[in-house]
Amino acid sequence: MRALNRKLLRDLVRMWPQALAIALVMAAGTATLILGVGSHGSLAETRAIYYERNRFADVFADVTRAPNLLAEEIAQIPGVAAVETRVSKIALLDIPGVAEPASAMFVSIPHLREQRLNLLHLRSGRLPIAGDEREVVVSEPFALAHKFEIGSSFEAILNGRKRSFRIVGTALSPEFIYALGPWDLMPDDRRFGIVWMSEPALAGAFDLVGAFSSVHVKLLHDASEQEVIDRLDQMLTRYGGLGAYGRRDQTSHAFLDAELQQLEAMSRVLPPIFLIVAAFLVNMTLSRLISLEREQIGLLKAIGYGSWAIGVHYLQFVSVIALVGAVIGAVVGTWLGVGLTRLYGDFFHFPFLVFRMDPGVYLIAAGVTVAASMLGALKAVRDVVGLPPAVAMTPPAPAQYRRLLPMLYSLLRPPQTFVMASRHLLRWPVRTLSSLLGIALSGAILVGSLWTFGAVEFMIDVTFHRADRQDATINFVRERPESALWNVMNLPGVLRAEPYRSIPVKIRSGNVERRVAITGKPANTDLSRVLDHTFVAVRMPETGVALSSALAKILKVRVGDLVEVELLERDRRRVDLPVTAIIEGYVGLMAYMDIVEANRLLREGSMISGAHIAIDSLRQDELFRVLKETPTASFIALQRVSLQKFRETIAENISIVVTIYVSLAIVIAFGVVYNFARISLSEQGREIASLRVLGFTRAEVSAILLSELAALTLLAQPLGWVLGYSLAALMVWAFESELYRMPLILEPYVYATGSLLVIAAAIISGLVVRRRIDQLDLIEVLKTRE
């Protein structure tokens, strides 16, 4: 082995803690990119393949009742590749041993032919025998939640009549990846499931023999979705069509999309910033580290090594560190990425997972860190190689210092150690500022990932404690007169009840159109309330329509503007309504009206779609028992259970992702501060040893170095907060989908935690440096020049 290579190895061994700290910073940067991009890529790919294999439909429409023959006509629409008609209805279930009322979407399986679209992925058992009225296949998550096995049975109220069913199989479907019950914010596999049964049996139960209530269409590749939707609407209107819609408005797809978008936002915002921060820090650290090699570089030149050979030597030195970092990062990133993909895969109940780890991402991640470290090294080497060897071998001339504000110093007479620290920091403003920025950035990535916990809590608070405060929502099978509210109030345990009216509409402004439900509410609600932008409950405007801020933003309207509302029920009129209020909320696109006004819009008397209720928790079980037997209710949403589900799923998923990012941010923060402290020690080691000889105690000399570290760490905090806030704002922006928005709320504790973690890293680094100071060889200082 050549002597220079041996030097390389020995140097690495000698500096292993610092080299490892730098490698870990790089690893953290690399890992975040690989894990973020990898897990999102894998999930998006899995979904695409699942949709493809199981022929997930492109356009969907619900009707009251349309003859089966219409399917042929629909198939003739230009651009339509395949048509599937079916019966699908929501019904209340009665499951032995389950107190809360649960519901299921009953979906028909074609009679005596294969499914054409939304193919079931059978997980166990078999399909029902054609025409059998009792045999059903249920969705696998629902079966698992109830520990159902093949042969288990349950009851349900179909069209007002209680029936008993026997499970013969479990399945998954691309249509119900995200199985969300009406009025629920979160999938709850205990309380909402999918039940597939033979078409004649289900049609019979709902008086739909020879007819269908829902149609799904697969489009040709070059088809125009909008044209097909328009043609479908024309055909289905007279059969009570509620308006055809594309995947964007399909519940499961839309929510899945929002989730993937959030994951993507995290992978597109945080990892590149982590990577850049890591690269910057590595660049800065290695450049300082190599500046310390000045004498050795001079020596190498003196004995005849060329600048090129020396440059290569130090590039090799940093490449070893960079490669170790990149390899650790790639391994950890892949491992975390696969883990995260599995976690989300389980949550979505994908029947299979495709791991797609793009080699390009590895190249980018490793390339950026390696390049940054090499640039840092080259810069330092170039500075030294340019000097004549004789100059390089001697220590640099004593640095020129200036007395800043001598009056102030003589007035305050600060301790000389303070003067030393402050002058030292001011002497190299670029280095000081870059260290400051480095520490601030490590604080910023902590703040930028920690804030999401609080934001989710805030979202929960606004959604469940300030806006929708009801314990439960009862959704009627079909609209009922207002007097039905009295029946609800008379149910056992119901303390209060507020009616609502739900009107499916298309809302339009200019050329922007969205399919939403306008919810009619009484003017003075107390349970389900609407909030203004300061999150204060406001009175529902008596006229016009109130839009959620997200919807208003999409439609580009403000209070006072007109929006066109197209009814998807009754006479399908189009009316222009003034926007009379903008409402705050983080989930979904919402539109509200006064309930009297809503009924007037439909030209109906006082009708209600359901009721929000407050429940006496002591009589809850009794209420649930009665509700299960109530033929007029199709679905009962339990807000408390929703909240619990929300915490268990979204909050948990976000927590895991954020915890990973926070851990990596801690690695980066520690690596930076530790290296700063170590390099400062190397740079000032001689000075510090001299002071020890003069009789300064270990604590006193440590104080000089550590006060520099402390000053930088403290000064970096406010900058870190500002940068962290910007990072959070960037995430909110990337996070925003039509279904979810993240509130940009950073509670003081987020800043405090971020700072505490950075300060803790500084303290630990300080202790390590302190130990080094204790081990300084004093005699060496007297003997050597520098």
């Binding site: 001339a397 640095a399 210092y401 030393m420 001689r686 200082v781 007297l782």
Partner: protein, 235 residues
Amino acid sequence: MAEITFRTRNLTKTYISGAVEVHALRGVDFEAEAGEFLVILGPSGSGKSTFLNIVGGLDLPTSGEVWFQDRELSQMGERELTLYRRDHVGFVFQFYNLVPSLTARENVALVTDIARKPMRPEEALEIVGLAPRMDHFPAQLSGGEQQRVAIARAIAKRPEVLLCDEPTGALDSKTGILVLDALLKVNIEIGATTLVITHNVAIQEIAHRVIQFADGRIASTHEIADRKPATAIHW
């Protein structure tokens, strides 16, 4: 009889350097009286620096005793040695070892801040003749001036002993003489026992006594009957 500042008995120091044992000191018996000005001569590796480090409280002997006044340095712990250096010893190094970020006055204040009964930094700089340049940083001072700042820093605490390792080693003859003059002056004014290590034989003429080190032992000691002022020597 004058008070004894230093006394060593059978002092040895052995370094283990890899597989090799280096016997830096092989039994040194030595005494120095209060206020004495001693010059220690000897070739490289003769053990003079090791000796100075041990009496200065920077290192511990392998065996033997070393006493400062009535205290045995060889029995002291790290903390006590630090306090010993802080309160009683002034060091002057070959390469000055000034703090570059502090002015001359502040470098001296560094020591007076922690000493028990120090003189004012200005006073110490006055003694070495640097009062006019006390607000200059090391980078703005010549080598000789920097060394005189180092001396001022060493004497500002009014030490009982002043230990100088090659104080003129990095200086030309003219500047070196100025530094030696300053050392003699403080030896008289504050009465510190002064030990000066040097390669430079010419310097011996300013001492009370000259100790010759060779091969880890004191080879010879002789008194200088006819002491000269610093200005009278040259090299």
